[in-house]
Amino acid sequence: MTNQTIDQDEWATLAAVARLLRHAAVCAWARAEAEGPRSHLHLLGLGIHTASCQVAAMLPADADPEGQHPAQDDIAQLLRSAEELTRSIPVVDRMAGISPLVVAICDLVREATP
């Protein structure tokens, strides 16, 4: 399912989305663990993590989405930033998967925003 024809800018943007989502999942789980085993944030973290898995599946096989960690730890803000980044990714055949990714991130923003 990996798309080999993504151009460089789109790849870089998608990799940045992956980083934001990964970091948001880590932040959600860190807060969940601080709150205890009953925290609803365990499931929010799981949702964010699966969204990041989806982005990873869209990246080229040889891509290494390592990069600088986002500076902030606000989960909702990280998700909003990820959504904003997806706005510059074209909705075209070669980016199949971007539409459900957008929906998933928007759902997570709603879930994370009090």
Binding site: M1, A18, R19, R22, W29, E33, G36, P37, R38, S39, H40, H42, L43, G45, L46, G47, H49, T50, A51, C53, Q54, A56, A57, M58, A63, D64, P65, E66, R80, E83, R87, P90, V91, V92, D93, A96, G97, I98, S99, P100, L101, V102, V103, A104, C106, D107, V109, R110, E111, A112, T113, P114
Partner: protein
């Protein structure tokens, strides 16, 4: 229409797309009636815009043809006719944001109609632009339909709760809303197929048709269990092990919340919950989380996770949310009890807690025996030293050993996990098997509670059972520990 609007067709399409995203991020139950009233206008405007785009040269050889849009428009019209016939949601204000989307699409159609005579679809670049425009329109409908569906689903849930026990006249919004939810889901699925929705299920646990409530939870738990075993048998990578462990932790968390609601509403024995279930559930949740942390250390950002496993995890999360969540946190116990029969849900969770022991055993076997386990050199070096230091704190001081070659650490290459890392993993998974076993034993009382309930009791809570004073059966003797590598 704004006569000063100098935006291009592309800019207008982006505006429509971004507005539907904003709607989806902000949507609430109260928005549903206005959104349902306005959705038809959005689809009609999109269809008119679609019709103004020059058709592909040589007919519809690609998926970029008009069939999908025609079907979507007829679905929307049928939905509108039903709304008029049923008088639901009835007259009232339109949703301003969706109205803006409809007007923006109409503006784009006008622009093409007035100035698009020069468009030559035989030119490859123009063809690509047209394809991109069609894709953006369909994407906007896909995101928009999802947003209206979310609002309608939440609205139905609220009406259901507020009209429980009332006349069918007062609760008539429920079946009508459910009908709208189903139609919007079908609409979303069709639009999603057009935009290459290969990842749809994985992305959001999409659930177009099928059971709801406790039955959905049961199917999601069974589906998850099967997929976790399949994935771990075929590809026991750290990334897959991480998702399995995090999802199992999520099941334990959800079980705690749902069973607590069951205890508070009389569906689960309060004493059994507080003294037997809750402590063992918390312990197993913490152990799944701890083991997940170990697998996370062994992953790198480039790792891929099995998308079937992702889909199963998403469906499970969606099923739990349907029962147990209220926007950003857990729903109140009485709200959960209003959504499903918590006794039935408890029985499904009891089965899942039994299955969790087997999943824990599989993970322990991977930790102990899989010689292909690797991890990033730096993380493995840190973990190996931490394990050795931990052992030294317990009086087992060994020789100083370099567990990972400096060159590998410098380049952060994937390396086979060092012996202390594996030993730590085996210890952690051994503990996990024991605590999962304890939770399974404690949850056995749920089966008895359910069996004790009067048949046909439906959603009515039963009187709490008399207190039992049995202690959970500890599994330490029942589940043999695996040999150290």
């Amino acid at each position: 229409m704004n006569r000063q609007d100098a935006r291009s067709v592309g800019e207008l399409l982006l505006d429509a797309d971004f507005t539907t995203r904003q709607v989806l991020m902000d949507v609430t139950s109260e928005d549903a009636p206005a959104m349902l009233r306005t959705w038809g206008e959005v689809v009609q405007s999109a269809s008119e815009l679609w019709a103004t785009l020059p058709p592909p040269v040589g007919g519809g050889s690609s998926p970029i043809d008009g069939a999908t849009m025609a079907r979507l428009e007829s679905m929307s019209q049928a939905m509108h006719r039903t709304q008029v016939r049923q008088g639901w949601p009835g007259d009232g204000p339109a949703d301003e944001r969706l109205l803006h989307v409809a007007e923006t699409l109409t503006r784009a159609a006008d622009l093409i109609g007035r100035r698009g005579g020069h468009i030559r679809p035989s030119d490859p670049e123009v063809r690509a632009d047209l394809d991109a425009a069609r894709m953006r329109i369909m994407h906007t409908l896909y995101v928009g339909a999802h947003g209206v569906g979310v609002a309608a689903r939440h609205h139905v849930r609220d009406v259901e709760l507020s009209t429980r026990g009332k006349t069918s006249q007062e609760s008539r919004g429920v079946p009508r809303g459910q009908d709208a939810v189903k139609r919007l889901a079908a609409f979303e699925q069709l639009a999603g197929a057009y935009v290459g929705n290969r990842y749809a299920r994985a992305a959001q646990g999409e659930h177009v048709r099928g059971p709801y409530g406790a039955e959905r939870l049961q199917q999601a738990l069974i589906g998850w269990d099967i997929q976790a075993h399949r994935t771990l048998a075929a590809s026991p990578t750290a990334a897959n092990l991480l998702l399995v462990s995090r999802t199992q932790a999520g099941i334990a968390t959800a079980a705690g919340a749902i069973l607590q609601a069951g205890a508070r509403t009389g569906h689960v024995d309060t004493h059994a919950y507080e003294h037997r279930l809750a402590p063992t559930l918390d312990a197993t949740q913490e152990n799944w989380t701890h083991v997940a942390g170990r697998w996370a250390e062994m992953t790198s950002p480039a790792d891929r996770t099995d998308m079937d496993l992702v889909a199963a995890a998403n469906e499970l999360r969606a099923a739990v949310r349907e029962i147990a969540h209220d926007k950003t946190t857990w729903a109140r116990p009485d709200v959960m009890a209003g959504r499903v029969d918590l006794g039935e849900a408890a029985q499904h969770l009891q089965q899942a807690l039994s299955s969790a022991v087997e999943v824990a055993c599989v993970i322990r076997d991977v930790a102990a025996q899989d010689t292909n386990l690797t991890g990033p050199a730096r993380a493995m070096s840190h973990r190996a030293n931490a394990e050795v230091d931990g052992a030294a704190d317990h009086g087992q001081r060994g020789e100083d050993v370099v567990w990972v070659a400096p060159g590998d650490v410098f380049a952060n290459r994937p390396v086979t996990i060092p012996e202390p890392v594996r030993a730590g993993l085996v210890d952690a998974t051994d503990t996990l098997v024991q605590t999962a076993g304890n939770a399974m034993s404690a949850a056995a009382c749920l089966d008895r509670v359910t069996q004790d309930r009067a048949p046909g009791s439906g959603q009515e809570p039963t009187a709490p059972r008399s207190r039992r004073h049995e202690e959970p059966t500890h599994m330490a003797q029942e589940v043999p520990r695996v040999a150290r590598p």
